[in-house]
Amino acid sequence: MRPAVLTGEHYITGDEACAEGAMAAGCMFFGGYPITPATEVAEHMSVRLPEVGGTFIQMEDEIAAMASIIGASWAGQKSMTSTSGPGFSLMMENIGLAVCTETPCVVVNVQRAGPSTGLPTMGAQGDMMQARWGSHGHYEIIALSPSSGQEIFNQTITAFNLSEKYRVPVLLMTDEVIGHMSEKVVIPNASEIRTISRPKPKGRKDRFKLYQPAENGVAPMPSAGDGYKIHVTGLTHDERGYPVMTVEAQAEMTDRIVRKIRDNRHDIIMTDSYNLEDAEIILVSYGISARTSLAAMHMARSSGMKVGFLKLNTIWPFAEEKIAELAQRARAFITVEINYGQIHLEVMRSATGRADCHLVGHAGGTVITPEQVMAKIKEIY
């Protein structure tokens, strides 16, 4: 029997790194359904969770998988699921339930090319907008995007921490390429891994209100069986958690679930900057395409072009302030992503016309090459 944290150097796939990240973060429940290219996350969790007393269950579909992790979260467990496009679509209604009921949980989407069944074994980054608002209604959500096995491991832990801290589902948007690629992943000592658990209520149980926010906008969360007699509903509800069918209650509740993310965006939004100081052209990218972009930036620099790179680790909420600031100094942005322009549109929106915005993208099935990015840099430099 192995411990939750497998300290050491490993040569594993991104999907396995994701599972190990979840274990290190304290995940104790996984409800899933097999789908290429995410299946290995579930397979690995099915072996690992019982080793630490946790529970793995393969549910009858992704709708059930998503429902089960919300239930497990209210039972007090850190919980997760993993899927790819078609399953991500099926999870959407219950992702909304988790948003509305402020339930911490992690959903991993190892993206493949769509629409529909698409290219099951080949990567893409076409679900970024679905991650933003794929469930109905207006809300804020957190989505992260790692670009290597090591980052998948690290960001899975971050995903759990953010979901527990802000009581929101966190979407980890990886892709087939990094999910299936084997790379070196270093797992540190357990004592060096920072994990966060949801805030627990204190004080009198009879005065407790389920959605009364603390200072950071997030309400403490009891578990079922703790004696708080909670009522949890996906209907519009007041601070007690009771359904209230009024315009005012709708505004108050939506405000809370939106504000707790927006007001804490500086804690949530993570980016890495490369050569931005003097950059005339800035590449913006994430996930596997971040690696393409970094290579392209080095190629451009070695031929004397002032190209920088902004790597987005957090996709949602979007780093719009960062882009707006860069738009004052740079001449143009090139967004590099495996779709026909999703985050590209966000960059355009954030640049508010102060810098030209270009896209290097395609429909999916393979990565974008640094040469393709270079061609665009040369074209506009």
């Binding site: 269950i57 059930a64 998988a65 429902a67 089960s68 209210w74 209604e93 578990s223 069986g225 509903t233």
Partner: protein
Amino acid sequence: MVAKADSTPSEQVHPLDHLIRTDRIPHIWCTGCGIGTVFSSCLKAMISSGIDLEKTCMVSGIGCTGRGAGYLNLDSFHTTHGRAIPFATGLKLGNPNLNVIVFSGDGDLFAIGGNHFIHGARRNIDMTVICVNNLIYGMTGGQVAATTPVNAKTTTTQSGNPDAPFNLPLMAWASGATYVARWTMLHIRELTACIEKALTRSGFSFIEVLAPCPTNYGRRNREKSLETLRLYRDKTIIKNNADPSELDVDFQKGVILGEFVDRERPTCIENYDRTCRAF
């Protein structure tokens, strides 16, 4: 109402009041609706069973019946349409010490949620599923359900339902439920006893309760509330251990009530411990 002899009406306390979120009353259920009776039978059984109520949760889907969870003054979850069972599965597996009750409608549990029911029963997850079967979609205004009798009028089958309804106990039995019973909301004593039994035994227990929806079923099918209750009295046959294949709901033929299945099988958690957690 049970009142202290010397109390005024405003001081009267119903014996189930402590289990009800009285600050949420009035409830949404129509006059003549059968759901409330089933709900209070469930509350009575929860008390008489002696289970630890602090560790007891109710999970509902969406529908008139699904509003049940919202009135229970215990940990309660009102989830998405059809998904009460998978939600409850996560809750139970996440904390096996919880007693989990699913309280929902026939549309919720057997149309949109039918697949989850089958798999919950197959896995023998330790939970009690109570289905209020009013033969219709009540909440959305009376559309055809998977339980609507052939030829019955609904807003989406205005010339009569062309399709055959499910036999729910048969499905529960075939899927592997370890306890299966059916009553009507008129058979309150038997119903309460069966719920009590289901709550104290382990495994996947299923109880179907026929209950009238005068607003959306009765009205369109020329069946007043009282007439439905008369059918429940005159056109039902109590037959414990009946063959599940005889259990169609057909009041012309007579509807069989009783306790049909009571068998032992390892639960989902017992099986998981034995096969996956034994190192």
